[in-house]
């Protein structure tokens, strides 16, 4: 029996744009939930599947197993080897992508209405019956190793690796999901089956579908597509505190432009101050050309092509991060300006006008995100993962508008800690040395 639990039909209303979106929630007879938007205008379907856990479930000594496993899902399944599988997929003009992230295994599928049954059968086969053939493992492993070698010489990757290791140590967040040359070289076929068993489980599954289909039709296919996966996965890692203190870490690398990754502890997605922090961060560094950091570092001083800051509420830790790149001769000045802006925001906060302009942008921009089947499917599956209800798409702008000047400036003062800001700089920065 198919139960359609709720239909939330509403208009996304802002001062200017109204986007109508009708999110239907459906539960299959086997108990799998999905959010569905019926959009018959174009004869294709976008399907987004997420599993929480992903690379954070790598077993001890097996760093990189989930990442390699995900890469192998398209390399043969059922009675098809890699080439047979891809030949079948190409003949349908469908596309699947399988991607491991630190906390999320992400599967995106796009296929035509005219052959959706065949496309779904292939997707089911890849998810439920992967083969992990030894020859596929031997072919894909060197690709991953090549990526690891490339990261070791890429300034941005060098900075990220150093930052993560210093902030999170032995927690999965402290190391790259690709693994190391040593760990990846040692992975076996059995490790792939283990990673598959652990990462693709129904208790951590989220699904959304947008396109030329109906909620009833989606409900009917969910059990066949995903019902044969194991019910439960292993325990998730513990939460971890952001362990990096204020300062500078310089990593010498011979390249003309230094790159800097900087950050401090952040706040949780469900923190009651999240929206105040979100608005504040928009003004500080997330708002593109309108942000203070872009104005001060790029527009006024010409020190960089781009600078941005990001609130990063992950499942097990929270950060406020930023990045900038500037010539070796000028990166020290850029960092000084950033520290100054961090302090200015903490001490003085926003003006009433800045708050209004930020709210207008943020509430006006939100409906513009819902502009394609895959985009809508991605937004919906992301909402499910962090526990937001379908009504959030209506209420979200109210949350932004509810932020008061008092809130935002209190949160700026509490959250931003100039002395706790740590910069990892890769390059040959002039006039900048590691602290401590």
């Amino acid at each position: 029996m198919l139960r359609i639990l709720i239909t939330v039909c509403f208009a996304l209303v802002t001062t200017t744009a109204q986007a109508e979106i009708d999110i239907k929630q459906v539960t299959s007879p086997g108990g799998i939930n999905a959010w569905v938007v019926e959009e018959p205008a174009i004869p294709f379907i976008a399907l987004e599947i997420r599993f929480r856990g992903s690379s954070s479930l790598d077993l001890p000594g097996k760093r990189g197993a989930t990442n390699l496993m995900a890469a192998l899902l398209e390399e043969g399944s059922g009675d098809m080897n890699a080439q047979e599988f891809q030949t079948a997929l190409e003949a349908l003009a469908a596309s699947f992508s399988f991607r491991a992230l630190d906390d999320t295994l992400s599967i995106s599928a796009r296929f035509l209405t005219e052959n959706k049954a065949e496309a779904l059968a292939l997707l089911r086969q890849a998810l439920i019956e992967p083969r992990f053939d030894q020859d596929a493992l031997d072919r894909v492993r060197p690709q991953v190793l090549s990526g690891i070698a490339s990261d070791a010489k890429d300034p941005n990757s060098i900075a990220s690796a150093a930052f993560d290791a210093a902030a999170f140590g032995d927690h999965p967040y402290g190391s790259a999901i690709d693994g190391t040359v040593e760990s990846v070289s040692a992975l076996t076929q059995q490790d792939m089956f283990d990673a598959h068993r652990n990462a693709l489980t129904r208790d951590r599954l989220f699904v959304s579908v947008v396109g030329d289909t109906t909620a009833d039709a989606v409900g009917a296919i969910l059990d066949d597509l995903l019902g044969d996966l194991p019910a439960e996965g292993p325990v998730l890692p513990d939460d971890v505190a952001f362990g990096l203190e204020g300062g500078v870490t310089v990593i010498e690398y011979d390249t003309p432009q230094a790159v800097a990754l900087f950050g401090q502890a952040g706040l949780k997605r469900d923190d009651e101050d999240f929206f105040a922090a979100f608005v504040m961060n928009h003004v500080l560094g997330a708002g593109g050309f309108e942000s203070r950091l872009m104005t001060e570092v790029r527009e006024k001083r010409g020190l960089t092509y781009g600078i941005g800051t990001y609130l990063v509420p992950k499942f097990h830790a929270e950060m406020l991060l930023g990045s900038v790149a500037s010539s070796n001769a000028t990166i020290a000045e850029a960092i000084e300006v950033i520290r100054g802006e961090w302090a200015r925001m903490a001490n003085e906060g926003l003006s009433a006008e800045e708050l209004e302009v930020a709210k207008t942008y943020l509430t006006g921009e939100y409906p513009l995100r819902f502009d394609g089947n895959a985009e809508i499917a991605k937004i919906m599956v992301g909402m499910q993962m962090v526990g937001l209800p379908p009504e959030y798409v209506v209420d979200r702008n109210d949350f932004v508008n509810a932020v008061t000047l008092e809130d935002v400036n209190r949160v700026a003062a509490e959250l931003l800690q100039p002395e706790a800001l740590h910069f990892v700089v890769v390059g040959k920065p002039e006039g900048l040395e590691s602290t401590q």
């Binding site: 001062t15 986007a19 060197p142 011979d254 593109g288 050309f289 010409g302 092509y305």
Partner: protein, 443 residues
């Protein structure tokens, strides 16, 4: 003068497009207007494309097209520096711009009922820029940092720049879009203004509006804001230096300690899509797919990644969206223990074998199906459709050419592919580049 303010004798040509709803006009002052309807969401993309890019720059001023693009976000007679983007943002929209060899384009993405404001501001900066020497000083530093970020810090980008400079012996496609660093450092206010005054005019521009709009309303607004701008009488004919007959293969080894993985690229000159003549280009799309599209099913992927463990990555690609010559390229990343010589020999063996064998009809069917499906998927992305029309019209194609392209692709035969391959795979008009971390790796 009256002519400039006269009512438009707009020529309305509504194409019965197979899929997207497209309406076109030409204004009296020569500005083309393309309206693409997509009423699924109350959003509009407003773009102005200028038929000028880096390949139109004067000698010695490389990068000026892109530099000017940055300067257009400074002030005008009525807009303070930064006010353009700030106004877009204050209305909940986003804006940006991009420069290529053949075009420079500016766009905003915003709620559909804000279209008029966008037109008002965009039409204002077509003719009324007010840039100060201080703007120029700061923004020059920004574009130099942009070059640092995109190119100087990236050994693969530096290598591609070298290979491209060797592939084009006379055409400006050999000069990087962002500019050579030493010339960027010398760009001044006058360079930018000269370029602006000559090329930024309605008879050198295309307006593309895509989204939740009605063509008649767009036309009315286009008349009001763009139609009143006088045409540039001295707009030069767009004739750029062409390639001479190329008579010798070029080989380059780029050495950079920051390279982590040696690889090779081979690029050939190739025919581009031309008005009324897109068949060779269409055949080249298939050729790239057959030789190096999917690693699982293409000839290079099968031979070098499956039948032998010669490579960890292979690719063939065709860029035919150009006003002048296009390019056809291969890339191979050898597996551990395989030298670049061996990888290149294996690649050439695949190319030679392809030329001698029959093309598998099943592969042709599969590619045809994928190309047909890509047209359906493309409808989900109105920004992408807007860019498709904007780019094509700056590269001398017509609306009819753009709309005929999917059918031309479907009509490609095995014979077409073999014929164009025989023409393109001429090593005398190709560059083979090796990218290595040390001279020892170049073997």
């Amino acid at each position: 003068m009256t002519r400039l303010f006269a009512a438009f004798a707009a020529i309305v040509t509504a194409f019965a497009a197979h899929a997207e709803e497209v309406t076109t006009y030409t204004l009296d002052n020569g500005m083309e207007v393309v309206v693409i309807e997509d009423h699924r969401a109350p959003v509009v993309v407003h773009m102005v494309w200028y038929k000028v890019g880096s390949a139109d720059e004067p000698v010695g001023a490389s990068g000026v097209a892109h530099f000017l693009e940055h300067l257009l976000f400074k002030g005008t007679d009525v807009l303070a520096p930064g006010e353009f983007s700030a106004t877009v943002a204050a209305n909940g929209g986003s804006d940006n711009a991009f420069t290529s060899y053949d075009y420079t384009a500016y766009f905003q993405r915003i709620a559909a009922d804000r279209l008029e404001l966008m037109m008002q501001m965009e039409s204002n900066r077509m003719n009324n820029l007010r840039i100060t020497p201080e703007d120029v000083e700061t923004e020059r530093q920004v574009i130099l940092e942009e070059r640092n970020q995109r190119t100087e810090n990236n050994p693969n980008a530096l290598a591609r720049e070298q290979f491209n400079a060797a592939l084009f012996q006379n055409h400006r496609y050999g000069v990087p879009i962002i500019g050579w660093k030493h010339e960027m450092e010398q760009l001044d206010l006058q360079d930018a203004l000269d370029f602006y005054d000559l090329y930024y005019s309605p008879n050198n521009a295309i307006l593309v509006v895509a989204g939740d709009v009605e063509p008649e309303e767009v036309l009315a607004l286009a008349r009001q804001y763009y139609g009143v701008i006088p045409a540039e009488e001295h707009l030069p004919v767009r004739e750029r230096p062409q390639e001479p007959p190329q008579r010798a293969e070029r080989r380059i080894t780029y050495v950079d300690a920051r390279v982590s993985q040696p690889f090779l690229i081979r690029s050939y000159l190739a025919p581009e899509r031309d008005p009324g003549a897109q068949s060779e280009a269409a055949a080249l799309v298939y050729l790239a797919e057959l030789l190096g599209g999917s690693p699982f099913t293409s000839a290079l992927g099968q031979a070098l990644q499956f039948d032998s463990q010669t490579a960890i990555y292979t690719n063939a690609s065709y860029d035919g969206s150009r006003l002048d010559d296009g390019t056809f390229s291969f890339a191979v990343v050898p597996a551990e223990g395989v030298t670049l010589s061996e990888a290149e020999a294996a690649m050439d063996e695949v190319i030679n074998a392809f030329m001698e064998a029959e093309i598998d009809p099943a592969r042709m069917d599969s590619i045809r199906t994928q190309l047909r499906a890509s047209e359906i998927y493309a409808l989900d992305n109105v920004d992408g459709l807007a860019r498709r029309y904007g780019a094509a019209l700056t590269q001398s194609l017509t609306i009819a050419d753009v709309q005929a392209w999917p059918d031309i692709l479907q009509a490609v035969t095995e014979e077409d592919i073999k014929a164009v391959a025989a023409k393109v795979f001429n090593r005398d008009q190709a560059v083979t580049g090796w990218v290595v971390s040390s001279q020892e790796e170049a073997r």
